[in-house]
C-alpha cells in the first residue's frame, strides 16, 4: 500500500512538472491571441477632449486603396448603382465645396473646407488643415484601378485576412440572450444581413460576395463575448467586424486595436469605441451627449436646479458627471442624483426623493430605455413631474414611446439622438427588403444601416486590392455623410473623431407630443409622437 502511494505521488509530481514545463514552452504559440501579453487599453488620443477641431475636408484621393472621391454626391437620390441599397444615399466622403448636408438652424459647424481642389491623395498633396491628417502622417497610398487589380491578382485575390477572390468575410457579436433580443439585437442583425444579401444578389463588389458570420454571446456572458471575438478573428478569420450589439463590447476594444481588425458600425455604447483607431463608432459618445443636451437645457429651459437619473456603471456615471460640469458652469444646482440599476423594480422611493428635492428639470442617462421608463412611470403614477419637464438620451426607438405612455409627453419630455428620425431612405428600404422591421427601428440601427452602405462604397472605391489597413485609411480620410434623411456626418480621422459639426458632437433634440413613436406610413417616415424641438433642433457639444 505504501509503495502504491509513493508511486502515485511520484506520478503526480511528474505530471505537475510536466504541465509547468509545457506551460513554459507553450508561450508564444501561434494560435494564441495574447502572444506578447494582453492588449493595452485603446490609445485615448483620438477622443481626447483637447483635440477639438472644426470640421474640414481632410483629404481627397482617387479610387483605389484610398477612398476620397471628389464626385461623391450626398443626396437621397444618389446613383443607385453605386450602392447596394437602391434609393439610399450614396455614402461617401464629401467633396470640397460640395453640397453640405446642413439643416436650417444648424450649429455653427462650417462645411468642410480647406485643401486643394479635387485630385488624388498622394504624398505631399494633403493640406494639413485642422481636422485633416497631420503633416508627416502616412498618406493613403493611391492606386489606380489597374494597379489595384494587378495587386489583387498577384495575390490570387487573397489580399488580406478574410478576403479571397470570391468572398469577403465579415462578422459581428450580438447578445441574443438578452431579454429584449427581439427588439434590438435580432432586428439589427437581420437588417445588416439583408443588406449583405441584396449586395450579393447584385453580384457583390469586384466579384466578391459577402459571407456573414454572427456570434451570439448570450445574455451577454463575458467568457462567450471573448470566445466569440477569438473565434471570429482567429478561427473564422473575418476581414472586419460589421455591426454588433453587446453590453460587453468595451471588453474587446483592446483586442480589436491589438489585432488591427476594422470594426464598423459597432454598438457605440462606450467611449473606448471612439478612442480605438480601429473602431468606427456611429453614435455620439455619451459624455458629448451630456454636454450637448446639458447646454440645450441651460439655454432653452433655463432651470435654476436640476435632478439627474443615472445608471450605476462607469460610462453613465461619467456621463452624469459631464452633465453636472455643464450645470456647474452655468450656475445651476444639481439638487438630487439618483443612481439606479437595471434590475431595480420599483423607483417610487426615488421619485419621492426627487420630489422632495424639487428640481425644475430632470436629465436621465441610463442607456436602457426600460430603466428610464421605470422612473417615468412611477413618477406619473405619483402625479409628479418637474415643472420644466424631463430630457435625456437613448430613448430613440420606435417601441420606446409606448414604454413611457402619454404622461411625459403631456408634461414635457425631450430626447436627443444622433440621427434624424427615422430616415425615409432607411425605412423605405427596410419596408421593401425586411418587412419584419416595422416598428423596430432605433438610433443604433440607423447608424449601422448607413455604415454598412459606407462599407460598400469604400470597398468599391478601393478596387480589388482590399486590405484592412487600406480600409482603415480610407475611413480615416474625408468626411462621411448620410444624406438629408438621417442628416449626419462622421469623420474618423484621429482629430476628426472629436470634430464639431459631425456626429461626434452634433445631435438632434426631439420633443415628445404623444407616445406613438413609430414611423408614419408615408414616405417621410417621421415618428408621429416626436417632433423637432421648436426652440433648438440641432444641438452641439461646444462645452470643451
Amino acid at each position: 500500500m505504501r509503495s502504491t502511494n509513493r508511486r502515485s505521488r511520484i506520478l503526480v509530481g511528474l505530471g505537475l512538472v510536466g504541465a509547468l514545463t509545457l506551460a513554459a514552452c507553450a508561450d508564444g504559440d501561434s494560435t494564441s491571441s495574447t502572444a506578447g501579453g494582453p492588449p493595452k487599453a485603446p490609445t485615448p488620443e483620438a477622443g481626447s477632449p483637447a483635440a477639438t477641431d472644426a470640421p474640414s475636408e481632410a483629404t481627397e484621393g482617387d479610387a483605389g486603396a484610398a477612398v476620397p472621391n471628389t464626385d461623391a454626391a450626398v443626396s437621397a437620390g444618389g446613383d443607385p448603382s453605386a450602392s447596394a441599397t437602391p434609393g439610399a444615399p450614396t455614402a461617401g466622403p464629401k467633396s470640397k465645396g460640395g453640397a453640405s448636408a446642413s439643416t436650417p438652424g444648424a450649429a455653427s459647424a462650417s462645411s468642410p473646407s480647406g485643401g486643394s481642389g479635387s485630385g488624388s491623395v498622394d504624398s505631399g498633396g494633403v493640406s494639413p488643415g485642422p481636422g485633416g491628417p497631420q503633416a508627416g502622417a502616412p498618406t493613403p497610398r493611391s492606386q489606380t484601378p489597374a494597379a489595384s487589380a494587378a495587386a489583387s491578382a498577384a495575390k490570387g485575390g487573397a489580399t488580406d485576412v478574410g478576403v479571397t477572390d470570391k468572398e469577403i468575410k465579415v462578422g459581428a457579436i450580438y447578445m441574443h440572450g438578452m431579454q429584449l433580443a427581439s427588439f434590438m439585437p435580432k432586428p439589427m442583425e437581420r437588417l445588416i444581413e439583408a443588406q449583405l444579401r441584396v449586395m450579393n444578389d447584385q453580384g457583390g463588389i469586384h466579384g466578391r460576395k459577402f459571407k456573414y458570420i454572427g456570434c451570439d454571446d448570450g445574455v451577454p456572458d463575458a467568457a462567450r463575448t471573448r470566445a466569440c471575438y477569438k473565434k471570429l478573428v482567429e478561427q473564422d478569420k473575418i476581414f472586419a467586424f460589421l455591426g454588433g450589439l453587446t453590453f460587453n463590447s468595451g471588453l474587446i476594444q483592446p483586442d480589436i486595436e491589438r489585432d488591427k481588425v476594422p470594426a464598423l458600425a459597432p454598438g457605440s455604447l462606450y467611449r473606448s469605441e471612439w478612442e480605438n483607431p480601429w473602431s468606427f463608432a456611429i453614435h455620439m459618445g455619451m459624455e458629448h451627449e451630456a454636454h450637448a443636451g446639458g447646454q440645450w437645457v441651460v439655454d432653452v429651459l433655463k432651470p435654476k436646479k436640476i435632478g439627474l437619473l443615472c445608471l450605476n456603471n462607469a460610462e453613465m456615471q461619467a456621463t452624469c458627471d459631464a452633465s453636472t460640469a455643464v450645470m456647474k458652469k452655468a450656475g445651476i444646482k444639481v439638487v438630487h442624483r439618483v443612481t439606479t440599476s437595471a434590475e431595480t423594480p420599483d423607483m417610487s422611493g426615488d421619485v419621492l426623493a426627487m420630489r422632495a428635492a424639487d428640481p425644475d428639470h430632470i436629465i436621465h442617462y441610463t442607456t436602457h430605455p426600460a430603466a428610464t421608463a421605470r422612473f417615468m412611470l412611477d413618477a406619473s403614477q405619483q402625479d409628479y413631474w418637474p415643472p420644466k419637464g424631463v430630457s435625456g438620451n437613448h430613448m430613440a426607438g420606435e417601441f420606446a414611446g409606448a414604454l413611457i405612455g402619454n404622461y411625459p409627453a403631456k408634461h414635457g419630455y425631450w430626447t436627443n439622438t444622433t440621427y434624424k428620425l427615422w430616415g425615409p431612405e432607411l425605412v423605405s428600404w427596410s419596408r421593401k427588403y425586411v418587412p419584419d422591421q416595422e416598428g423596430l427601428h432605433n438610433h443604433v440601427m440607423q447608424g449601422q444601416w448607413w455604415s454598412t452602405n459606407v462599407f460598400f462604397d469604400v470597398l468599391k472605391k478601393m478596387g480589388p486590392n482590399v486590405t484592412r489597413e487600406g480600409l482603415k485609411q480610407a475611413l480615416e480620410t474625408g468626411e462621411y455623410t448620410t444624406g438629408p434623411g438621417l442628416d449626419q456626418k462622421f469623420m474618423w480621422s484621429p482629430k476628426g473623431r472629436n470634430a464639431h459639426g459631425t456626429g461626434a458632437r452634433r445631435e438632434f433634440m426631439y420633443k415628445a407630443v404623444h407616445s406613438d413613436w413609430a414611423a408614419t406610413k408615408d414616405a417621410a417616415a417621421t415618428p408621429g409622437g416626436l417632433v423637432p424641438d421648436p426652440d433648438r433642433f440641432v444641438i452641439e457639444d461646444t462645452f470643451d
Binding site: 504559440d29 502572444a35 476594444q253 483592446p254
Partner: protein, 338 residues
C-alpha cells in the same frame, strides 16, 4: 495499474495535450471552465460534505477578481506584485466566508441559504458598485490586467495560462481527495451526514463548518484571482450576480457529491456547452434549465451516482472480494457514495 488509475491518467493526458491542437478560443473557454471547476469544487465541500447551501459563490469569485485585479494592475490600480495582490484578494473572500460561517453556530439549512443570498445581493450593491474596483472610474477607463509571470515562466499565451490553471485544478483535486480520506475529512463528512452523531463523538460541527466555508471561500478566491488576468479586461459585474451563484450551485448537485471528478466534468461541460451550441442560438436559460433538469432527474446521487452504479453493477463479484482489503487505499477521486 488498475482501470481507474488508467482512466485518470488518460483524462489528465487528454486535458493537457488537447490544447496543442485546439483553436485558441476553445482554449480560452476551456480555461474559464477549469476555473469554474475550481469554484464548484469549493462549493462541493460546503454543499456536499457539510450539507449547507451557499448562494454567494459567484459574488466571492467576483470580489476576489476585482480586488486582486485592482491591486495588481499598474494602470488604474496599485501595481502590487501578483502574488501579494492574489493573497489579499483571497483573504478578503475568506474573511467574508468566515463571517457567513459564524452564523452556522445558531442557524442552519434555509437560514444559511438565505443569509448567503443576502450577502450575494449586498456584494452586488456595494463592492460591485464601486467603479474604482470594477470597471474603473470615468468612461475612458479600459482596464487591462496583465497575465502574471513567474521567474522563467510566462503565462501570456492562452495555452500557457490554461495549463497553469489545469495544474492548479489538479492540485485542488488531489488535496480534496486526500482530505476526504483523512480523519479530518471524514469528520467533515460526518458533520454533514449527522450533526448530532458528530457532536456526540466530540466533533464540533460549528468548527468544521467554519473550515468548510473557509475552504470554499479560498477556492472561490483562487478562481477569482486567476479570472482577472485570464480576461485581461475584467468582465462587468453582472457576470457575477445572484443567478450565477444559483448556476454554480447546480453543478455539484447535478454531478453528485460522491465524485470530485464528476463535479469537474460537469463544470467543464457547463463551461463548454453554450459555446459549442452557439450556432443554434438557444436561449441560455433553456439550455441551463434543460441541463440541470436532466442532471437532477438522472438520479438522487447525481450523474456520477448513475455512472458509479453502472460500473458497480458490471464489476465481477470475485474482483470485489479480492480487492476489498485494498479499496480504502486507492486514491479516491470518485468517492464512495454515502
Amino acid at each position: 495499474m488498475d482501470l481507474r488509475k488508467a482512466t485518470y491518467g488518460l483524462l489528465a493526458a487528454a486535458a493537457t495535450l488537447w490544447v496543442f491542437l485546439a483553436p485558441s478560443y476553445w482554449v480560452f473557454i476551456a480555461t474559464t471552465a477549469v476555473l469554474l471547476a475550481i469554484t464548484t469544487l469549493g462549493l462541493t465541500v460546503v454543499v456536499g460534505w457539510v450539507r449547507e447551501v451557499s448562494l454567494v459563490q459567484a459574488g466571492l469569485v467576483g470580489t476576489a477578481m476585482y480586488v486582486s485585479g485592482y491591486l495588481y494592475r499598474a494602470e488604474g490600480g496599485l501595481g502590487w506584485p501578483f502574488l501579494a495582490a492574489a493573497a489579499v484578494g483571497i483573504g478578503v473572500v475568506v474573511l467574508l466566508s468566515v463571517l457567513v460561517s459564524l452564523s452556522t453556530a445558531r442557524l442552519s439549512g434555509v437560514y444559511i441559504l438565505v443569509l448567503t443570498l443576502g450577502l450575494q445581493i449586498t456584494i452586488e450593491r456595494t463592492i460591485f458598485a464601486n467603479l474604482k474596483l470594477t470597471t474603473g472610474e470615468g468612461s475612458a477607463a479600459t482596464l487591462v490586467t496583465p497575465r502574471p509571470a513567474l521567474p522563467g515562466l510566462s503565462f501570456a499565451s492562452d495555452r500557457a495560462f490554461y495549463l497553469l490553471c489545469l495544474a492548479l485544478l489538479g492540485v485542488v483535486l488531489l488535496f480534496l481527495s486526500r482530505l476526504r480520506n483523512l480523519r479530518f475529512g471524514r469528520s467533515l463528512l460526518l458533520v454533514g451526514t449527522d450533526r448530532q452523531a458528530a457532536a456526540s463523538v466530540g466533533i464540533s460541527p460549528w468548527r468544521y463548518k467554519i473550515f468548510a466555508f473557509v475552504l470554499s471561500g479560498f477556492l472561490a478566491g483562487v478562481a477569482g484571482v486567476l479570472t482577472a488576468p485570464l480576461f485581461g479586461t475584467p468582465p462587468y459585474p453582472f457576470a457575477f450576480f445572484a443567478f450565477t451563484s444559483l448556476a454554480y450551485l447546480a453543478i455539484p448537485v447535478v454531478a453528485g457529491f460522491g465524485s470530485l471528478l464528476g463535479v469537474v466534468l460537469v463544470a467543464v461541460f457547463y463551461g463548454l456547452a453554450p459555446q459549442a451550441l452557439e450556432p443554434m442560438r438557444i436561449s441560455p436559460l433553456i439550455l441551463a434549465g434543460f441541463g440541470v433538469a436532466v442532471g437532477t432527474l438522472a438520479g438522487r446521487a447525481g450523474l456520477s451516482g448513475v455512472v458509479q452504479n453502472y460500473l458497480r453493477a458490471r464489476r465481477p463479484v470475485e474482483v470485489v472480494a479480492r480487492t476489498g482489503a485494498q479499496e480504502h487505499a486507492e486514491p479516491v477521486l470518485a468517492g464512495s457514495a454515502r
